[in-house]
């Protein structure tokens, strides 16, 4: 209904490979960007700081993990550890007086380096074995962080994020933190949107589909798997740093434990492997659904004056959350991105049923 394709044509192959050849998609992106930039003016601080901001940061993180899982087809159960390395790395770096921008890059590189070491070890194995190897990384990093006071910040195991400046502007209020997170998110998103269009992205896809088939078309599977680990870890580190600086403002080991790794994996799977928009949707569902459901059930219980104990009331959202995730995956095993694609297709072929090609 909304999609108008007439008049969309290309006079070069470069144009043919445009990200959004469909005008409606372009408008949608513009509108979303405008909304994102205008959000601080439009949203109460509550929603900005405790919904939108963490959503953006987690979407960034999910994109990084999705690069590895969705694009390159490798599982990673220790992604929170990667983020932790970035978070701690960046905080220590800024405390040492390194500018935030460099610290951000540095934290990414640190995560990438450590991630790569594990990648090396892990990539001799595949599938479930890889899952276990990455799990080991999670445990190891967790252990090191909580047992080395120099990293974790002493017996209280909390490290404050120091004050910092971004591109010369002091980042102090909710707004400025939000914009930093948005900027990183937009950058990472553009990177991932374009990955599929580069030879790197195509090599990853080949490796994902069948690594030995990739080898016979000249794609060095091992190298690209490592590259995927490297890139993904870099993005994980950066998003971990942003999470620490812009959202938590203080890091503790619990913020990056195994649960969080599982959540990140859930974001990717529920969102849709190899999908940019899926990473956003997955992050939204996994991160925000418990909160929204909690408030919803609470409000409902209050309104209906349900004679339920708080303990029971607290568990209902969890049950609903579980049902929601299982429901979505049953309804569409390819994730929310596919749900979105289905809706888009529904309107793309409107008022017909089938695509005619």
């Amino acid at each position: 209904m909304f999609y108008r394709l007439a008049g969309v044509r290309h006079t070069s192959y470069a144009a043919d490979r445009a990200l959004w050849p469909v005008p409606v998609d372009r408008w949608q992106i513009r509108a979303l960007l405008a909304l994102a930039v205008g959000a601080p003016f439009l949203l109460p601080d509550l929603y900005l700081t405790s919904y939108l901001l963490p959503w953006l940061v987690w979407s960034t993180a999910a994109l990084g993990l999705n690069l590895l899982m969705g694009w390159a087809g490798q599982i990673h159960l220790g992604y929170a550890a990667v983020m932790a390395i970035g978070a701690y790395g960046a905080i220590h770096a800024v405390r040492l007086g390194i500018p935030f921008e460099l610290a951000l890059l540095g934290s990414g590189l640190l995560s990438a380096a450590i991630g790569l070491v594990f990648g090396f070890a892990a990539l001799r194995v595949k599938g479930l074995y890889l899952a276990i190897s990455t799990l080991a990384m999670q445990y190891l990093v967790d252990w090191i962080i909580s047992h080395v006071p120099a990293i974790s910040g002493g017996s209280q195991a909390t490290l404050q994020a120091p004050a910092f400046r971004f591109l010369g502007v002091p980042v102090a209020g909710d707004w400025s933190r939000y914009y930093v997170a948005l900027a990183v998110c937009v950058l990472v998103t553009s990177f991932l949107l374009n990955v599929g269009r580069t030879s790197f992205g195509r090599a990853l896809a080949a490796v994902r589909e069948k690594d030995f088939a990739a080898a016979v078309i000249g794609v060095n599977a091992f190298y690209f798997k490592l590259m995927a680990f490297w890139c993904s870890s870099f993005l994980g580190g950066v998003s971990g740093a942003v999470l620490a600086f812009c959202y938590y403002r203080a890091v503790t080991p619990e913020q990056f434990n195994l649960d969080v790794s599982i959540q990140a994996v859930a974001m990717v799977i529920v969102g849709g492997m190899g999908s940019v928009i899926g990473s956003y949707l997955g992050a939204a569902l996994v991160l925000l659904a418990p909160i929204v459901l909690n408030n919803l059930v609470g409000a409902f219980a209050r309104a209906a004056a349900l004679p339920l104990h708080q303990e029971v009331l607290s568990h209902i959202p969890l049950i609903l959350y579980g049902v929601l995730i299982v429901g979505f995956l049953l309804f569409e095993p390819l994730g929310l991105a596919k749900v979105y694609a289905n809706i888009r297709n529904y309107f793309l072929v409107w008022p017909f049923r089938h695509a005619r090609h």
């Binding site: 999609y3 007439a6 044509r9 006079t11 144009a15 050849p21 017909f352």
Partner: protein, 652 residues
């Protein structure tokens, strides 16, 4: 930077004072040169190749034409010489037409599907030069040369498969252009000379009238004629400057020449050429033309496709489409009946535009089509109303090759189903005592090539005898009834025009083609070719299993369906002219079999001869017939198929 994806944006019609399209001294070449001078960098032609639209500006256009002309001249091309142009629409074929015209020669486009032996009819002018699209056409021309000795030079566009050919005179387009460029470089005055050489009274194109009965006749149209026709049409606001147009109609058809070359140059259209015939519909959507022209037949097919598609759709979408289309058709019907627009029409139409009309038009690629035309034969009421209801300003016009296709046209204020509009400015229309439509205009041609008898019969006292029967309504609107020569009598002496009845039958989406029989016979009968898509879908919905076209056509359910269609038509016919019997043919009529012309007009003599067995059986009262069908394949081979066909009474 992310957002600013470099996708071609719609070329906007530039608002400028409407230019005088041309003057009496102009030629297509002088106008082309004018465009290249005033709008050098504006896109003139777009050609889709391997998925990408390659663009030619007006300067490129002129540059190609001039270089090719210079090259052709170097090969020995002489004034007044015909040049065969054979193939699907391609930019270089258009360039070649203009290059030939620049050398005061006559480009003669030919339908690309013409089989080799038929080619000889078209090529009796013994052209020494030909340009061919691809290997297939080159092979045909070589075969023609083996038979007749001409053409001497065959220039080809697409070199695929031609590398190993050793035939003399077979030249790559590029080579000719390169030779031309070398000449142009050596002689700085040559370009201007080539542009100025042709005069208004030189031939612009040599076309062949469709010829439902005999051989096609050569129609030579001069620059003066073509440009006059376009001036007339532009004066009636029929074309505007800078339209987006898709050149997909056969180049050998007058419609294509007038739109894609004549009007395109005179009024600076952007002409887009689809990748191939298979991709026309998709390419059309990529272009989204502002001016669209299709035969009544195509509009019918389009409607059938849409209806099948909507039928297959989900209930919600189907329901919405049904609701809004019914509404729009109702509004359109009232509007055509002269009712004053009501405010709520606009509200509902606005909503419908968003939900139904807009998306459908978008799918068709007609979202921006401000001018939609049909001509050639009567359009069905359902089809006409449907597309007008969608919001397409679909209008009919009337014309013939001999008058550069532009004789009469409907204007916005007087759109009616049964008329073809009023005479264009500069065109006089008269109905003679026999009811034949006569035309006088500057755009009328000067005579058939090498056929003084036919010319004498057609051009009488400065009037063109069209051969169409019709009348003028009091307000000057022209109504066409059929071909004068097509009025026939049953053995009982009942007078009828088969074409008129056929058109009524073809208004049904289930009927693709039909031949009405009855001349010299006791009653009327019909040979029906079903529409595979519409009937196939109809069968599918009803659970009627079928495999092929032949199988489907002989299903009793399908017979019943066709019977219903014929009974409906019988309802509006006087009793003696009602159809009594019919047969569903196992195949569709095909130009390759000679049953219809390339423009899909019935060739009755061929049908009567080929299906004599069936026709005899119909009139002998048989209820089925074992029929041996001869089929000609495009390779020229032929085969025989044995078929058992049912013959059925239409009944009441």
């Amino acid at each position: 930077m992310l957002l600013d994806t470099p996708v071609a944006r719609p070329t906007r019609a530039i608002v400028e004072p409407p230019p005088a399209p041309s003057s009496a001294d102009d030629t297509l070449l002088s106008l082309l040169a004018r465009n290249a001078a005033t709008h050098a960098r504006r896109v003139a032609l777009r050609e889709r190749d391997l998925g990408i639209w390659h663009e030619y500006t007006w300067r490129d256009y002129l540059d190609q034409v001039v270089a090719l002309a210079a090259g052709l001249e170097a090969l020995g091309f002489e004034p007044a010489e015909p040049m065969l142009v054979i193939g699907d629409n391609r930019a270089r074929l258009y360039f070649a037409m203009l290059a030939a015209a620049a050398l005061r020669g006559v480009p003669a486009p030919i339908y690309p599907e013409v089989p080799p032996e038929e080619l000889a009819h078209f090529a009796r002018e013994r052209a020494r030069f030909a340009i061919a699209e691809d290997q297939e056409q080159v092979d045909k021309l070589l075969e023609l040369r083996a038979r007749t000795g001409a053409p001497e030079y065959i220039i080809y566009d697409d070199p695929r498969g031609l590398a190993g050919y050793a035939a003399s005179g077979l030249i790559d387009y590029e080579t000719v252009v390169a030779r031309g460029r070398a000449r142009l470089k050596a002689d700085p005055g040559l370009a201007a000379d080539l542009i100025a050489r042709a005069g208004p009274d030189d031939g612009a194109v040599l076309l062949h009238s469709s010829g439902t009965t005999g051989r096609p006749k050569g129609v030579l149209l001069k620059h003066r004629r073509v440009l006059a026709a376009i001036r007339n049409a532009a004066a009636a606001d029929y074309f505007r400057e800078g339209e987006e147009y898709v050149a997909y109609l056969p180049m050998a058809w007058i419609g294509d020449f007038v739109f894609s070359v004549g009007a395109a140059i005179a009024l600076r259209f952007v002409v887009s050429i689809p990748e191939g015939q298979e991709t026309v519909l998709r390419d059309l959507r990529e272009i989204a033309p502002t001016l669209y022209f299709a035969s009544a037949r195509s509009w019918d097919n389009l409607l059938t496709r849409l209806q099948v598609g909507i039928d297959e759709s989900t209930p919600l979408k189907r329901g919405l489409v049904a609701f809004f289309m019914r509404l729009a058709i109702d509004i359109e019907r009232r509007r055509l009946a002269g009712e004053r627009p009501r405010p709520w029409w606009n509200v509902l139409r606005g909503l419908g535009e968003l939900v139904v009309y807009g998306p459908i038009k978008d799918h068709l690629g007609l979202g921006r089509a401000h001018r939609c035309y049909t001509a050639g034969e009567a359009i069905g009421e359902d089809t006409f109303l449907f597309f007008r209801a969608l919001g397409l300003n679909l209008k009919q016009f009337y014309g013939q090759t001999e008058n550069c296709a532009l004789t009469a046209a409907q204007d916005d204020a007087r759109v009616r189903l049964h008329t073809v509009g009023r005479a264009l400015p500069g065109v006089e229309i008269r109905i003679d005592e026999n009811g034949e439509v006569l035309i006088r205009a500057e755009s009328v041609f000067d005579g058939y090539v090498d056929d003084p008898d036919a010319t004498a019969r057609t051009l009488v006292d400065g009037w063109l005898r069209t051969g169409d029967a019709g009348y003028l309504e009091p307000d000057g609107e022209l109504v066409i009834l059929g071909r004068v020569g097509e009025v026939v009598h049953t053995s009982a002496g009942e007078r009828f025009i088969p074409n008129y009845i056929e058109n009524r039958i073809k208004f049904s989406q289930y009927v693709r083609d039909v031949a009405v029989l009855g001349a010299g016979r006791p009653f009327l009968a019909a040979i029906v070719c079903i529409d595979m898509e519409a009937v196939g879908h109809w069968a599918q919905v009803r659970g009627v299993a079928y495999t092929s076209y032949a199988d489907l056509s002989q299903k009793p359910e399908v017979y019943a369906l066709v019977q219903g269609v014929l009974r409906h038509v019988n309802g509006v016919l006087p009793p003696p002219l009602r159809l009594r019997r019919f047969v569903n043919l196992h195949k569709a009529f095909d130009p390759d079999d000679g049953e219809v012309t390339r423009t899909r007009k019935l060739r009755r003599n061929v049908i009567e001869k080929r299906y004599a067995q069936i026709i005899d059986a119909i009139y002998a009262g048989a209820s089925e017939i074992e029929f041996e069908a001869r089929i000609t394949y495009e390779t020229g081979e032929s085969g025989v198929l044995r078929r058992r066909l049912t013959i059925m009474d239409v009944g009441a």
